[in-house]
Amino acid sequence: MTTVTDFGIDFSTIGPVVGARFPEVTLPDQDGTLVQLHQARGGRRALVVFHRSASW
Protein backbone atom coordinates (compact mmCIF):
# COMPACT_ATOMS: atom_id res chain seq x y z
CA MET A 1 0.00 0.00 0.00
CA THR A 2 1.18 3.48 -0.74
CA THR A 3 2.03 5.55 2.26
CA VAL A 4 3.32 9.08 2.44
CA THR A 5 5.15 8.66 5.75
CA ASP A 6 7.01 5.42 6.41
CA PHE A 7 7.91 4.72 10.03
CA GLY A 8 8.59 1.07 9.19
CA ILE A 9 5.68 -0.34 11.20
CA ASP A 10 4.54 -3.83 10.17
CA PHE A 11 0.79 -3.86 10.76
CA SER A 12 0.26 -7.47 9.74
CA THR A 13 0.81 -8.55 13.36
CA ILE A 14 -0.62 -5.48 15.10
CA GLY A 15 -4.23 -5.93 16.17
CA PRO A 16 -6.65 -8.59 14.89
CA VAL A 17 -5.18 -10.49 11.94
CA VAL A 18 -6.72 -11.16 8.55
CA GLY A 19 -8.83 -14.31 8.68
CA ALA A 20 -9.61 -14.05 12.41
CA ARG A 21 -13.00 -13.15 13.79
CA PHE A 22 -12.92 -9.58 15.03
CA PRO A 23 -13.28 -9.58 18.85
CA GLU A 24 -16.60 -8.49 20.29
CA VAL A 25 -16.49 -4.84 21.25
CA THR A 26 -19.05 -3.02 23.38
CA LEU A 27 -18.76 0.75 23.54
CA PRO A 28 -21.06 3.78 23.85
CA ASP A 29 -22.10 5.53 20.63
CA GLN A 30 -22.62 9.26 20.03
CA ASP A 31 -25.97 9.10 21.86
CA GLY A 32 -24.53 7.25 24.85
CA THR A 33 -26.19 3.96 23.89
CA LEU A 34 -24.02 0.87 24.36
CA VAL A 35 -23.37 -0.81 21.03
CA GLN A 36 -22.18 -4.39 20.54
CA LEU A 37 -20.31 -4.46 17.25
CA HIS A 38 -21.34 -7.87 15.98
CA GLN A 39 -24.95 -7.51 17.08
CA ALA A 40 -25.14 -4.08 15.44
CA ARG A 41 -23.83 -5.49 12.15
CA GLY A 42 -26.97 -7.62 11.92
CA GLY A 43 -25.22 -10.19 9.73
CA ARG A 44 -23.92 -7.55 7.34
CA ARG A 45 -20.38 -6.66 6.37
CA ALA A 46 -18.81 -3.78 8.25
CA LEU A 47 -16.05 -1.24 8.02
CA VAL A 48 -14.45 -0.63 11.43
CA VAL A 49 -12.42 2.57 11.41
CA PHE A 50 -9.98 3.51 14.15
CA HIS A 51 -9.52 7.24 14.27
CA ARG A 52 -7.50 9.18 16.78
CA SER A 53 -9.99 11.71 18.07
CA ALA A 54 -12.90 13.98 17.30
CA SER A 55 -10.96 16.91 18.71
CA TRP A 56 -7.57 16.83 16.98
Binding site: T2, G15, A20, F22, R45, A46
Partner: protein, 244 residues
Protein backbone atom coordinates in the same frame (compact mmCIF):
# COMPACT_ATOMS: atom_id res chain seq x y z
CA UNK B 1 -18.13 15.34 22.27
CA UNK B 2 -19.07 12.65 19.70
CA UNK B 3 -22.68 13.79 19.69
CA UNK B 4 -21.70 17.36 18.81
CA UNK B 5 -19.16 16.12 16.27
CA UNK B 6 -21.74 13.91 14.55
CA UNK B 7 -24.28 16.72 14.47
CA UNK B 8 -21.79 19.27 13.12
CA UNK B 9 -20.62 17.06 10.26
CA UNK B 10 -23.93 15.33 9.53
CA UNK B 11 -22.56 11.89 10.44
CA UNK B 12 -25.25 9.21 10.60
CA UNK B 13 -23.09 6.11 11.02
CA UNK B 14 -22.16 4.84 14.48
CA UNK B 15 -19.33 6.59 16.29
CA UNK B 16 -17.96 4.72 19.29
CA UNK B 17 -16.08 6.29 22.16
CA UNK B 18 -13.31 4.25 23.78
CA UNK B 19 -12.85 6.09 27.06
CA UNK B 20 -9.50 5.34 28.67
CA UNK B 21 -8.35 3.62 25.44
CA UNK B 22 -9.36 0.28 27.01
CA UNK B 23 -10.59 -1.46 23.87
CA UNK B 24 -7.79 -0.30 21.60
CA UNK B 25 -5.28 -1.41 24.24
CA UNK B 26 -6.93 -4.83 24.52
CA UNK B 27 -6.88 -5.16 20.72
CA UNK B 28 -3.20 -4.24 20.59
CA UNK B 29 -3.94 -1.11 18.57
CA UNK B 30 -2.75 1.54 21.01
CA UNK B 31 -0.32 3.79 19.16
CA UNK B 32 2.73 3.47 21.39
CA UNK B 33 4.84 5.52 18.99
CA UNK B 34 2.73 8.65 18.88
CA UNK B 35 5.29 10.77 20.76
CA UNK B 36 8.05 9.65 18.39
CA UNK B 37 5.86 10.43 15.39
CA UNK B 38 5.04 13.87 16.74
CA UNK B 39 8.76 14.45 17.22
CA UNK B 40 9.44 13.26 13.66
CA UNK B 41 7.13 16.04 12.45
CA UNK B 42 8.95 18.53 14.68
CA UNK B 43 6.05 18.91 17.12
CA UNK B 44 6.88 19.26 20.83
CA UNK B 45 5.68 16.48 23.13
CA UNK B 46 2.04 16.87 24.21
CA UNK B 47 0.66 14.38 26.71
CA UNK B 48 -2.90 14.82 25.48
CA UNK B 49 -2.06 12.91 22.30
CA UNK B 50 -1.35 9.68 24.24
CA UNK B 51 -4.08 7.06 24.06
CA UNK B 52 -4.89 7.15 20.35
CA UNK B 53 -5.03 4.07 18.14
CA UNK B 54 -2.90 3.44 15.10
CA UNK B 55 -4.97 4.83 12.24
CA UNK B 56 -6.53 2.06 10.28
CA UNK B 57 -9.53 0.20 9.02
CA UNK B 58 -10.76 -3.37 9.26
CA UNK B 59 -13.11 -4.77 6.65
CA UNK B 60 -15.32 -7.46 8.19
CA UNK B 61 -17.28 -10.03 6.22
CA UNK B 62 -20.86 -11.07 7.03
CA UNK B 63 -19.53 -13.54 9.63
CA UNK B 64 -17.52 -10.82 11.37
CA UNK B 65 -14.13 -12.09 10.21
CA UNK B 66 -11.37 -9.71 9.12
CA UNK B 67 -11.01 -9.88 5.36
CA UNK B 68 -8.79 -6.83 4.98
CA UNK B 69 -6.72 -4.47 7.12
CA UNK B 70 -5.66 -1.08 5.90
CA UNK B 71 -3.41 0.84 8.25
CA UNK B 72 -1.51 4.08 7.88
CA UNK B 73 1.98 4.53 9.24
CA UNK B 74 1.23 7.98 10.60
CA UNK B 75 -1.57 9.39 12.74
CA UNK B 76 -1.72 12.20 10.24
CA UNK B 77 -2.70 10.10 7.28
CA UNK B 78 -6.30 9.28 6.52
CA UNK B 79 -8.45 8.20 3.64
CA UNK B 80 -11.64 9.69 2.28
CA UNK B 81 -14.99 7.97 2.81
CA UNK B 82 -15.17 7.30 -0.91
CA UNK B 83 -11.64 5.90 -0.91
CA UNK B 84 -12.49 3.51 1.92
CA UNK B 85 -15.62 2.29 0.17
CA UNK B 86 -13.91 1.80 -3.17
CA UNK B 87 -10.52 0.54 -1.97
CA UNK B 88 -11.78 -1.31 1.10
CA UNK B 89 -15.08 -2.74 -0.04
CA UNK B 90 -14.63 -2.61 -3.80
CA UNK B 91 -17.93 -0.76 -3.97
CA UNK B 92 -18.17 2.01 -6.55
CA UNK B 93 -19.34 5.14 -4.77
CA UNK B 94 -22.05 7.22 -6.41
CA UNK B 95 -20.37 10.37 -5.10
CA UNK B 96 -17.11 11.82 -6.33
CA UNK B 97 -15.59 15.21 -6.88
CA UNK B 98 -16.49 17.21 -9.95
CA UNK B 99 -15.25 15.60 -13.15
CA UNK B 100 -13.26 17.34 -15.85
CA UNK B 101 -13.30 16.12 -19.43
CA UNK B 102 -10.97 16.12 -22.40
CA UNK B 103 -10.99 14.57 -25.83
CA UNK B 104 -8.36 14.00 -28.52
CA UNK B 105 -7.29 11.42 -31.10
CA UNK B 106 -10.33 9.17 -30.70
CA UNK B 107 -10.16 9.05 -26.91
CA UNK B 108 -12.46 10.69 -24.38
CA UNK B 109 -10.96 11.27 -20.94
CA UNK B 110 -12.80 11.91 -17.69
CA UNK B 111 -10.88 12.70 -14.52
CA UNK B 112 -12.07 13.29 -10.98
CA UNK B 113 -10.91 13.12 -7.39
CA UNK B 114 -12.76 11.39 -4.54
CA UNK B 115 -13.82 14.73 -3.26
CA UNK B 116 -13.85 18.41 -4.19
CA UNK B 117 -12.16 19.12 -0.88
CA UNK B 118 -8.96 17.93 0.77
CA UNK B 119 -7.65 17.79 4.28
CA UNK B 120 -4.08 17.99 5.46
CA UNK B 121 -2.43 14.57 4.82
CA UNK B 122 -5.67 13.01 3.58
CA UNK B 123 -5.22 10.50 0.78
CA UNK B 124 -7.39 11.30 -2.21
CA UNK B 125 -7.73 8.98 -5.17
CA UNK B 126 -7.51 10.44 -8.64
CA UNK B 127 -9.52 8.44 -11.14
CA UNK B 128 -8.81 8.81 -14.86
CA UNK B 129 -11.20 7.04 -17.20
CA UNK B 130 -10.38 6.69 -20.89
CA UNK B 131 -12.98 5.71 -23.46
CA UNK B 132 -11.21 4.62 -26.61
CA UNK B 133 -13.24 4.65 -29.84
CA UNK B 134 -13.98 1.25 -31.45
CA UNK B 135 -11.20 0.01 -33.73
CA UNK B 136 -8.58 2.07 -31.91
CA UNK B 137 -6.14 1.25 -29.13
CA UNK B 138 -3.67 3.09 -26.91
CA UNK B 139 -0.42 1.61 -25.69
CA UNK B 140 0.27 0.27 -22.22
CA UNK B 141 3.47 -1.04 -20.71
CA UNK B 142 5.91 -2.60 -21.28
CA UNK B 143 6.45 -0.62 -24.43
CA UNK B 144 9.11 -0.95 -27.14
CA UNK B 145 11.44 2.07 -27.38
CA UNK B 146 10.23 4.86 -29.60
CA UNK B 147 6.54 4.49 -28.78
CA UNK B 148 4.49 6.48 -26.25
CA UNK B 149 2.65 4.45 -23.59
CA UNK B 150 -0.29 5.84 -21.62
CA UNK B 151 1.00 8.02 -18.81
CA UNK B 152 -0.58 10.23 -16.15
CA UNK B 153 1.32 13.03 -14.45
CA UNK B 154 0.38 15.72 -11.97
CA UNK B 155 2.40 18.94 -12.04
CA UNK B 156 4.38 19.45 -8.80
CA UNK B 157 2.73 21.49 -6.05
CA UNK B 158 4.44 22.17 -2.69
CA UNK B 159 3.70 19.19 -0.43
CA UNK B 160 2.01 17.11 -3.13
CA UNK B 161 2.84 13.40 -2.97
CA UNK B 162 1.62 11.25 -5.84
CA UNK B 163 1.69 7.48 -5.47
CA UNK B 164 2.11 4.95 -8.28
CA UNK B 165 -0.84 4.57 -10.66
CA UNK B 166 -2.80 1.32 -10.57
CA UNK B 167 -2.86 0.40 -14.25
CA UNK B 168 -5.35 -2.08 -15.66
CA UNK B 169 -3.71 -5.02 -17.40
CA UNK B 170 -3.17 -4.32 -21.10
CA UNK B 171 -3.53 -7.14 -23.59
CA UNK B 172 -0.83 -8.25 -26.02
CA UNK B 173 -1.04 -7.19 -29.64
CA UNK B 174 1.14 -8.26 -32.51
CA UNK B 175 1.11 -6.02 -35.56
CA UNK B 176 1.80 -7.78 -38.85
CA UNK B 177 5.18 -6.80 -40.28
CA UNK B 178 6.55 -5.41 -36.99
CA UNK B 179 8.88 -7.49 -34.81
CA UNK B 180 7.91 -5.82 -31.51
CA UNK B 181 5.38 -7.12 -29.02
CA UNK B 182 2.90 -4.43 -27.98
CA UNK B 183 0.54 -4.23 -25.00
CA UNK B 184 -2.58 -2.18 -25.61
CA UNK B 185 -5.83 -0.90 -24.12
CA UNK B 186 -9.17 -0.83 -25.91
CA UNK B 187 -12.68 0.19 -24.91
CA UNK B 188 -13.09 1.92 -21.55
CA UNK B 189 -10.33 1.68 -18.96
CA UNK B 190 -9.88 3.22 -15.53
CA UNK B 191 -6.63 4.16 -13.82
CA UNK B 192 -6.47 5.30 -10.19
CA UNK B 193 -3.62 6.89 -8.29
CA UNK B 194 -3.25 8.13 -4.72
CA UNK B 195 -2.69 11.81 -4.15
CA UNK B 196 -1.84 13.41 -0.79
CA UNK B 197 -1.35 17.08 0.00
CA UNK B 198 1.03 17.31 2.94
CA UNK B 199 1.40 21.08 3.13
CA UNK B 200 -1.12 23.27 4.90
CA UNK B 201 -2.12 25.26 1.89
CA UNK B 202 -5.13 27.00 0.46
CA UNK B 203 -7.31 25.92 -2.41
CA UNK B 204 -5.37 24.26 -5.22
CA UNK B 205 -5.79 23.30 -8.82
CA UNK B 206 -4.06 20.05 -9.68
CA UNK B 207 -2.79 20.10 -13.26
CA UNK B 208 -3.22 16.58 -14.57
CA UNK B 209 -1.65 15.58 -17.89
CA UNK B 210 -2.69 12.41 -19.69
CA UNK B 211 -0.39 11.34 -22.53
CA UNK B 212 -1.07 8.57 -24.99
CA UNK B 213 -0.80 7.53 -28.59
CA UNK B 214 -3.83 6.17 -30.39
CA UNK B 215 -3.56 3.74 -33.29
CA UNK B 216 -5.79 1.58 -35.41
CA UNK B 217 -4.57 -1.62 -37.03
CA UNK B 218 -3.28 0.40 -39.96
CA UNK B 219 -2.35 3.90 -38.80
CA UNK B 220 -1.48 6.04 -35.81
CA UNK B 221 -2.36 9.49 -34.56
CA UNK B 222 0.54 11.62 -33.35
CA UNK B 223 1.11 11.21 -29.59
CA UNK B 224 -1.01 13.68 -27.65
CA UNK B 225 -1.16 15.28 -24.21
CA UNK B 226 -4.44 16.30 -22.60
CA UNK B 227 -4.21 18.87 -19.82
CA UNK B 228 -6.98 18.63 -17.25
CA UNK B 229 -7.17 21.19 -14.43
CA UNK B 230 -8.75 19.71 -11.29
CA UNK B 231 -9.65 22.24 -8.60
CA UNK B 232 -9.66 21.06 -4.98
CA UNK B 233 -10.63 23.18 -1.99
CA UNK B 234 -8.90 23.11 1.39
CA UNK B 235 -11.54 21.66 3.76
CA UNK B 236 -9.84 22.96 6.87
CA UNK B 237 -10.19 26.39 5.37
CA UNK B 238 -13.93 25.87 5.07
CA UNK B 239 -14.44 24.39 8.51
CA UNK B 240 -12.33 26.62 10.67
CA UNK B 241 -9.98 29.57 10.42
CA UNK B 242 -6.52 28.69 9.19
CA UNK B 243 -4.00 27.68 11.79
CA UNK B 244 -1.21 30.16 11.54
Amino acid sequence: MLHDFATRYGITYTLLSDGGSKVISALGLLNTQVYDHHAAYGIPKQERVWGVPYPGVFVLDAQGCVVQKRFQQSYRERETGVGLLEQGFGVASSEHGTAVYGQAAGVQVRAYLDSDTYRFFQRLWLTVELTIAPGLHVYGQPMPAGYAPLSIDIAPVAGLVVGPPQWPTPHPLHIAGLPEQFYVYEGTITVVLPVTLTAEADDQTLQVTVRYQTCSSTECFVPCALHLPLPVQAADHIERPRRR
